[in-house]
Symmetry: C2
Subunit: 500 residues, 2 copies
């Protein structure tokens, strides 16, 4: 299997202004390296087109039970290892998408196998408690060892939830409760409020709002979906609240080359945010919270400067809105810091930070002042899942033991530099290489070409995902090493060279 470190050659060639001759296949004459001795795999291994015959057969069967248009192929998770996802037809693929960015330390990590095999853990997996009423003995200790050990700056309270959407929905609720308590001066709720909320009327069901950004993705339940503006297909036909939508900066890349223009664009968006807050306040629809992703992910990997986030945070403070940072996709280490918002370098970056995906279940951290004032206001039957937290505890051990954040930074450099090299070589196919850590992306000229590239790469043994209109997003696990980046870059170069 091709697995030479071609992209280093590419870099060298480009740096020295050497002529690079295509097709790249000429440059892969060396025998394959043993790239993944730890998992016993030597790179991708393709046996059929993907989806292969077994996948297609299973898709036909699944189609009898539900819409399958989003299914890529069926997987053999038992055979998958580390960065390699194996499908039911025996195809072994290097996975740079990791179940929509939700696999932190690769497939079947031996440390997680041990968690499952430890007889002491059995009870946690088979007795799911109602955490809000009857928590298990080790609950506080496990929270301290896991979530609290990585709590974002300034946030000492934590609420667990089962998924990303529930995390954001409940973060919205916490912000609304906090905001209304502030508005009423922490006086006791009135009889009118208690009665009117039962029939969905103000003042009990208030006309307060959550401000979100065009291009944002915060989930697909009714509250979250109102704040989501990535694609019409997610929102069409679903009732939404009349909540303000601000423009997200449309920046020019590479960011460092367009500092002045980008700063102007960000200024324009910040002004619009303030205008919206004032406009909505005038129509009696106060903004209780602003929610934003540190990098708009589903919406197309849209970045903004640290300065933008700093100013936005101040706008929230100035207008008395809670500042919610949605780290469902960006959190967990793939930007090179555990939380992407840590890159901003602010003393007081957020009032609430939501998480899920790589953290295996969901939830949010929040400031003391956002703590609900009564029981059952933030509540549901399960409020997360201690078995997921038990596994996440081991994920954190692995991240620390294997120094995976350092690894992400190293691999991310190789990946991003390689993408930048490739966009120089193939300017008609690629542009806007961008990223932090391994949380990278690059754009194709349009959706059709992006989709073609993703499919061609899949048949070459590389799993990629799209985002936005025409971006390819890279979301490898934290165990993605520099040699995996080279392996991907080589394969990508092949595809790009042959692309017509």
């Amino acid at each position: 299997m091709a697995s030479t470190l071609l992209s280093r050659q590419l870099t060298y060639i480009l740096q020295h202004n050497l002529k690079f001759s295509l097709p790249r296949s000429r440059y892969v004459s060396q025998p394959a390296n043993k790239t993944d001795v730890d998992v016993g795999f030597e790179g991708p291994l393709m046996k059929t087109e993907v989806p292969g015959p077994k996948s297609r057969d299973l898709m036909k069967k699944l189609n009898e039970l539900q819409n399958i248009d989003a299914v890529s192929f069926f997987c053999d998770y038992e055979e998958s290892r580390g960065n390699y996802l194996v499908d039911v037809d025996g195809n072994r693929m290097l996975d740079l998408y990791t179940q929509i960015s939700s696999i932190p330390i690769g497939y079947n990590h031996p440390a997680l196998v041990k968690v499952l095999q430890n007889p002491q853990n059995v009870s946690t997996f088979i007795n799911r408690p109602a955490l809000g009423c009857l928590p298990p003995e080790n609950y506080v200790q496990k929270l301290s060892e896991t979530l609290l050990s990585i709590a974002p700056k300034g946030l000492k309270q934590v609420q667990t939830m089962s998924c990303g959407s529930c995390s954001n929905e409940n973060a919205f609720k916490a912000a609304c409760i906090w905001y209304r308590n502030k508005e009423r001066g922490h006086a006791i709720h009135t009889k009118e409020e208690l009665e009117s909320c039962m029939i969905n009327q103000a003042p009990g069901s208030p006309d307060i709002t959550i401000l979100s950004f065009m291009g944002a993705f915060h989930g697909r339940t009714f509250g979250c979906l109102t704040a989501t503006h990535s694609k019409a297909v997610h929102k069409l036909d679903i009732p939404a609240f009349d909540w303000p939508t601000a423009p997200f900066p449309t920046l020019k890349y590479p960011l460092e080359e367009f500092v002045r223009e980008n700063a102007q664009e960000e200024e324009r968006c910040l002004e619009e945010v303030e205008d919206l807050i004032v406009k909505f306040r005038k129509k009696g629809r106060n903004v209780a919270a602003i929610i934003i992703e540190p990098i708009q992910s589903e919406g197309g990997d849209n970045h903004a400067s640290d300065d933008f986030f700093k100013k936005l945070r101040n706008v929230a403070k100035k207008h008395g809105c809670a500042f919610l940072c949605d780290e469902v996709q960006t959190g967990g280490g793939s930007t090179g810091k555990f939380w992407a918002h840590e890159h901003w370098g602010l003393d007081d970056p957020a009032d609430i930070v939501t998480f899920s995906k790589k953290l295996l279940s969901g939830g949010y951290f929040y400031k003391d002042e956002l703590r609900p004032d009564m029981p059952y206001r933030i509540f549901n039957t399960w409020l997360g899942d201690p078995s997921k937290n038990l596994m996440f505890s081991e994920v954190l051990n692995v991240i620390n033991r294997e120094k995976l954040l350092d690894n992400v930074i190293e691999s991310g450099k190789v990946l991003l530099q390689g993408l930048k090299d490739l966009q120089v070589l193939y300017p008609h196919i690629l542009n806007k290489a961008r990223g932090k850590g391994t949380f990278c992306s690059i754009d194709a000229p349009n959706e059709a070409i992006r989709n073609q590239l993703v499919l061609k790469m899949r048949n070459k043994g590389i799993v990629l995902g799209g985002c936005g209109e025409k971006s390819i997003r890279f979301r490898p696990a934290l165990v993605f090493k520099p040699h995996h980046a080279h392996l991907f870059l080589n394969a990508f170069n092949d595809i790009l060279g042959a692309h017509k």
Copy 2:
């Protein structure tokens, strides 16, 4: 430990108009029976008040991280078995609340331990897939063996979700998509629709509504919460949609004694439902779906007749609304049928049935015509959890092997008859004994007395839950046997006899 079959004596005494002398302790002179040889426990065993010192210490620690006002006590799940929940202070309690009705076959059932210990299952627990894109090889087979094997009549499609709220949110979405497609005559979406939905405006974000009932509980995320009307504390300060709320019949119990009055009350509510549909249609807010619980659970275990549900189902049909049946709490067998709506005996009972809790994760069954027409409209990262489905597969095996639905019917008879006997003995404390299977409840005169009874019972080794304003709800696991019902009834009789 007191565990004689006193309630049988009670029944006998009452049936024969014998005088029953209090306090009941006189009647428990026999040595304790070995009530739970299968789990090695001889009934409850109390060592401290609940919460005991260890629980109180842990509550203090948890209080540093979150609001703990809803925490009852901390549990030792490893030591819990069958119907017995053990707390961290070593108190062993008979559990008739089962983690808010979410433990199907008791604690640490040996069959579930085996699922965990089977090396073939490890991969399913540690590699959580994005089910909508990359399902595991055995996905269709597992769905067929589990969820589809218990699919409600007429519903052949199934969508898995992670929790009850997500199940209802997505059921609402499926209904809205279906309704709007019907309205537009299945024509293609317009450019105006696609653009307007991105900024939460009609026609893309339509003003359609979901009709729900006063007293209903459908979850706590923004869409669900709008349809929830059980308690103000759940809804206060959270923005809500302007969706119609119909009255739920306020029936007189026992139902069989007030057939005529109750039928009138149900007729009144049905008329109001139709009036609301017409009224909302006139203001441009068509009702896309009606959602109802077969027994309003959180709202106070409110029942209605089969005839009411039959007529309501017809109202939905007549007005072109989807009919959603929320079986999150009622589903899973505790009414004596797997789905509570099966009791109605209708040929076409519902268009969508949602589930969670005892089914270990969540989701909904739906008719073919409610199948989404495009990918990603009903979607999220995980879409449930195959590891929960794997365990649920074994739960179903146990239900069949141990004939647990028959057991529920038998135990439910003992429980309900005992409750009826007790309300005759203590008419100043208890009334409205009601239920189906073990899904029973009884009312106290007010909230304060209800709460006192629940706490007193807890200190006697029986875990109960409240619902509504003043009801005690009984939600034992499906392995709750007649002798457990007697054990509970004896203890309850003690408490009631001593209640001042």
